[in-house]
């Protein structure tokens, strides 16, 4: 079951990364360069957590709870710095930085939801 979940989650990451790549190309072609960069930022976050999942899989060594625990823990730890950066940007009314940090946090939120959906669906 754990292999099935890992495969589902990896497929989801790949789809999301491919979609970001497609949107990035479209937006660049349309001359919306900054929004194209937002897609790249999102793709990077998916890629980071795909790696985290891979490490979780190896560390968990077949134990679904261990994988879940490792992944959810990292999904809380990693964005902590982004949340802090977002708060700092808000303090300085830095809308440009706020947008980037918010995109990163929104993407992690989406990843956490999908992960929970797949893992809980299996339970």
């Amino acid at each position: 079951m754990i292999d099935q979940n890992m495969t589902k989650m990896n497929c989801w990451f790949e789809e999301k990364i491919a979609l970001c790549g497609k949107r990035n190309l479209e937006l660049n072609e349309d001359g919306r360069t900054d929004e194209a960069i937002f897609e790249k930022v999102k793709a990077n976050i998916y890629d980071v957590f795909r790696t985290v999942l891979s490490v979780a899989g190896k560390t968990g060594n077949g134990d679904a709870d261990a994988v879940k625990s490792f992944f959810t823990q990292r999904a809380e730890q990693i964005p902590a710095a982004w949340a802090a950066a977002l708060e700092k940007a808000k303090e300085h009314n830095d809308t440009v930085r706020m947008r980037t940090e918010q995109i990163k946090l929104d993407t992690v939120h989406e990843i956490r939801e999908e992960f929970a959906k797949i893992w809980e669906g299996a339970e």
Partner: protein, 184 residues
């Protein structure tokens, strides 16, 4: 508008969404949600673009009841590209300093105790030494060829070459009356 400001503005404008925002603001002042609705992008993305436009001096904002309204800074867009190009830049000052330094080096290398050591082979350098010699001629005065030769001879024995080259460089001119210094 300084060179740095112009570069920031042009960079900022090279984005379709920001151009669309400016097009909307050219019609009327708008708030973030209204722009987001018109352009089909999220409000945070509109805020992001507005911040960049504001930093580039293209838009300004003011409070109206509950809304923060954004408006086009029309004076910026009334500036012609030619005005921007003709604006004196920091780089122009630095370039003038480099030119002055180079000129000083050439003069020091080719003049010794006020005498020209040799005519430089490079046209750019020769132009500099001719500029120095031509300073000895007054404006609005006609010189005979003999007077010209005597003045040049104080600098260099081959006054014929110098005299001819000063004419060729447009520093001096002549007609049947004689020679005179051209105003640059």
């Amino acid at each position: 508008m300084t060179e740095t400001e112009a570069i920031r503005l042009f960079k900022c404008l090279s984005d379709k969404s920001r151009l669309q925002i400016l097009k909307s603001l050219a019609i009327e002042d708008m708030y973030v949600e209204r722009l987001a609705e018109r352009l089909g992008i999220t409000a945070p993305t509109v805020s992001f673009h507005l911040k960049k436009l504001s930093d580039a001096g293209a838009v300004t904002s003011y409070k109206s009841q509950y809304y923060m309204m954004y408006s086009l800074k029309k004076d910026i867009f009334e500036t012609s590209i030619l005005d921007i190009i003709q604006e004196k830049s920091d780089e122009a000052d630095a370039q003038a300093q480099r030119d002055a330094l180079y000129r000083r080096k050439v003069i020091d290398a080719f003049f010794e105790y006020g005498k020209l050591k040799a005519i430089p082979a490079q046209r750019k350098k020769e132009r500099i030494i001719l500029d120095v010699i031509v300073q000895e001629f007054e404006y609005d005065r006609i010189y005979s060829e003999r007077e010209v030769n005597i003045i040049i001879a104080d600098f260099y024995d081959d006054f014929c070459t110098i005299r001819r080259d000063m004419i060729g460089e447009g520093l001096m001119d002549r007609d049947t009356r004689g020679y005179w210094r051209v105003k640059q």
